[in-house]
């Protein structure tokens, strides 16, 4: 157990940042390619979780005393939950009216 913690501490900050960047890119990719509105919402969650990972990594390596990044993460998680709730409510409303959640079908508004 102790050994594991030691190894964890010796890991470089870069690995965490790279993981977060990869997660962020996957989120952007999902955002662009998804046709299902719920999947787009999930991709947005990925973006926000990449941010959380970044904040946690910075907080434990650079700011271990005041841990502002961890506090920030709590706020991001809370707001993400609120945003997902509103998003799902809107998707539900549109599903009742249109019987679909396919992004390509939403083309009433165009110039």
């Amino acid at each position: 157990m102790y050994d594991f913690e030691d190894k964890f501490r010796n890991m470089q900050l870069q690995y965490f940042l790279l993981l977060a960047a990869a997660l962020f890119c996957i989120g952007i990719y999902g955002l662009i390619t998804s046709r299902n509105a719920v999947r787009v919402l999930m991709s947005i969650e990925l973006l926000l979780n990449a941010v959380n990972l970044n904040l946690m990594a910075f907080s434990s390596y650079l700011d271990p005393l005041e841990i502002k990044g961890q506090v920030f993460t709590v706020f991001v998680i809370t707001v993400a939950a609120a945003e997902a709730a509103v998003g799902l409510a809107i998707i539900l409303a549109i599903y009742r009216n249109r019987d679909t959640v396919d992004m390509e079908q939403f083309n009433l508004l165009k110039w």
């Binding site: 973006l47 904040l55 502002k68 609120a82 809107i90 409303a93 939403f106």
Partner: protein, 523 residues
């Protein structure tokens, strides 16, 4: 006693205006719950009274000697006071015009006003926020309530679609913004206060690092979404067309003003070292917004969509003041936003009135309106001409001041482009005015032929009339009597300490390259 002590320590008196808005919100929500449906008679007026009380409270805080509160999380300097005043006033006028509209659409009024006050609260906090977590929370308070308002008429598929598009694009732009913010937190070594971030980055000598540039670009993407600057504008026309018109009025004035307040504070406090870079990015945004907004507006057939593109173009004009980076530049931004508040809300009030009476918002349906409803024609003409910048209306002085400030700061190309696109914009504004005042009865559109008799005694019409006359008077008088607004804008900038060192640093960065080149020629 402990509580009073805490309030004193946090300097919590600075958020008294927000406290008033929050109390009003509580009164409305609880009052609606207890009294029920009949509460909708007094609720809008309570909301307006609360907002006006908040404006009075803001006025009393003018020139506060100790603006920093909540351990540096909130800065209630004069700059933020002006922006909070603009947001509160725009909500008050928007509520005036929304009463009849919401009743006619058959949805609950109290909830709508509750959500709108929440959005106002978010915008007001955003104008003064000077710490990353506060910025994020207030930005999201504003955004999430805006998504809810956009989809408020939930049986209308167009409103649903607008809300979904707005939510998905808005949430992803928040994600991108937050990623930039998290990098900023890391690069500054764990600081969340904007001023501390700037000094930590300067100390660590990171001003040329790639990470900082990435974070700058990501943060600007988030801000540009809020002020709907091209190329982050794609949501604007769709949301403007689909959502209830009072919501559009709020989004185009209140929400946009909050975005500009965020842009000024964030760029000046957190990125003073990258001033050349952010000025470059904003120049690109301004050029794209002015050209795209004004040119695409020419081709629109729907009035709401035309005003959407026009608001993109207007955002481009306001950005000239931000890019100028001088005191005159910031003052001209505030002056223009103050004027824009009245003329744009006036245009939307007319739009709502016309839609309520005829049920359409096609530009071609406005032809011949002068013969049926002179007051509406007069008000819409004045507001549109003012938006276009025809003297002696308020918009003309706003544009002159912006362009003058840009010219003084040496942004010649940008100002010339602004002038050219203003001419383009005058064309599509005048087109509507010309259509309304045609003389021949056979050119009258079907909607105008069947125009109902003008009645002001229907429930909710009086407030709309008050809003109409108020914006009309403000738009026409603000041009001739612009001096008080001018003084207000100038003094708010002159007394804002956070903007002062920036003026110095922009001189600094302007002189350093010259010295460098002088050194090189010596060598």
């Amino acid at each position: 006693m402990d509580f009073a002590n805490l309030v004193d320590q946090l300097n919590a008196g600075t958020i008294l205006p927000e406290g008033i808005v929050l109390t009003t919100l509580m009164v409305i929500v609880v009052g609606d719950l207890i009294v029920g449906r009949s509460a909708s008679r007094w609720i809008p007026y309570t909301a307006i009274a609360g907002l006006l009380a908040a404006v009075v409270a803001l006025y009393l805080q003018w020139n506060n000697p100790n603006p920093i509160s909540f351990l540096g999380a909130f800065n209630s300097d004069d700059l933020s006071i002006v922006f909070r005043g603009i947001i509160a006033l725009s909500t008050a006028v928007t509520i005036l015009m929304s009463i009849r509209y919401i009743e006619q659409s058959g949805t609950a009024l109290a909830e709508f006003i509750g959500i709108m006050l929440t959005a106002t609260l978010g915008g007001m906090f955003l104008s003064g926020a000077s710490e990353l977590v506060t910025i994020f929370i207030s930005l999201e308070t504003l955004s999430i309530s805006s998504y809810l308002m956009t989809g408020y008429t939930k049986r209308d598929p167009r409103s649903n679609e607008a809300a979904l598009k707005y939510l998905l694009i808005g949430a992803s732009s928040t994600g991108v913004f937050l990623y930039g913010v998290s990098l900023l937190y890391g690069l500054s070594g764990g600081e969340t206060q904007l001023s501390a971030i700037a000094s930590a980055i300067a100390d660590a000598n990171l001003s040329q690092s790639l990470g900082l540039v990435i974070s700058l670009v990501f943060v600007i993407a988030g801000v540009a979404f809020k002020i709907s600057a091209a190329p982050f504008h794609q949501w604007t026309p769709d949301v403007y067309e689909g959502s209830p018109t009072p919501v559009v009025a709020f989004l185009s004035v209140g929400s946009k003003a909050a975005g500009f307040a965020l842009a000024i504070r964030l760029m000046n406090s957190a990125f003073p070292l990258l001033i050349d870079e952010w000025q470059f990015v904003f120049t690109a945004l301004a050029v794209l917004s002015m050209v795209l907004g004004n040119v695409v507006a020419l081709a629109q057939t729907s009035m709401k969509r035309m005003l959407a593109y026009s608001s993109i173009g207007q955002a481009g004009f306001v950005m000239i003041g931000l890019i100028a980076g001088t005191e005159a530049g910031y003052a001209s931004m505030i002056f223009y936003l103050l004027v824009y508040l009245f003329m744009n809300l006036g245009a939307f009030t007319c739009l709502i009135l016309f839609t309520l009476r005829t049920g359409t918002d096609q530009i071609s349906e406005y032809s011949g309106l002068y013969q049926k409803d002179p007051l509406l024609t007069l008000c819409l003409s004045i507001c549109l001409l003012s938006l276009g910048g025809i003297p002696p209306l308020a918009g003309f002085f706003g544009k002159i001041y912006l362009f003058w400030a840009g010219w003084q700061a040496g942004q010649y190309g940008l100002v010339l482009l602004g002038l050219v696109t203003t001419v383009v914009s005058i064309y599509y504004y005048i087109r509507v005015v010309r259509m309304m005042v045609v003389k021949e009865p056979q050119e009258m559109s079907d909607a105008v032929k069947n125009y109902p008799e003008v009645q002001w005694n229907l429930p909710g019409m009086r407030p709309l009339q008050v809003g109409l006359v108020l914006t009309l008077v403000a738009t026409s008088l603000a041009g001739i009597l612009s001096n008080p607004l001018f003084t207000l804008a100038n003094s708010s900038i002159a007394r804002t300490t956070t903007l002062q060192p920036i003026v110095i640093s922009s001189h600094f960065s302007a002189t350093v390259p010259a010295e460098n080149s002088a050194l090189q020629t010596q060598q």
